[in-house]
Symmetry: C2
Subunit: 92 residues, 2 copies
């Protein structure tokens, strides 16, 4: 499943389901000019989720992660189903 | 310019330019079930960039940000042109 399928799938799913929910989708794509480049996306993932959790409540059971590694590009797609009301106690 | 155009445009540009560079692209899409939902993407932006900067050198002049706000969805697209060699001193 590519990151585009991931995104499109979620949109389509929303269309079919009458119960609309807030969702946050994060897609990272790292294009590497050479194969020597470090693939840091997996390590970024946890830190990104920690940042997001300062703004909205994140239930670990409502997080989908899809990592794809190719020769020239790695993609990390994170889909988060959000509660209706976001938290407002984020650091200023 | 939608976030998809942003992404595709960068890919197309790469195809035309023989000088390949490392790039990191971050796309956030926040689907809101109601119009009351808080739009926190702009505030997330700086924190996300700070996280990324712990893994790779980020030159502020090489960062493109595109924020689109719609009724049901906001998207934030960040494109970063990376130096060839990423930093490795990220927090464990």
């Amino acid at each position: 499943m590519s990151w585009l399928d991931f995104f499109r799938g979620r949109r389509a799913e929303k269309g079919n389901a009458p119960l609309a929910k807030d969702r946050l989708q994060i897609i990272l794509a790292h294009e590497r000019a050479s194969r020597d480049g470090e693939d840091f996306l997996p390590r970024l993932q946890q830190e990104l989720l920690a940042v997001v959790a300062r703004y909205v409540q994140v239930d670990a059971n409502k997080v989908q992660v899809n990592l794809e590694r190719g020769e020239g590009m790695s993609t990390l797609a994170i889909g988060i189903e959000l509660p209706a009301k976001p938290r407002r106690n984020a650091a200023a």
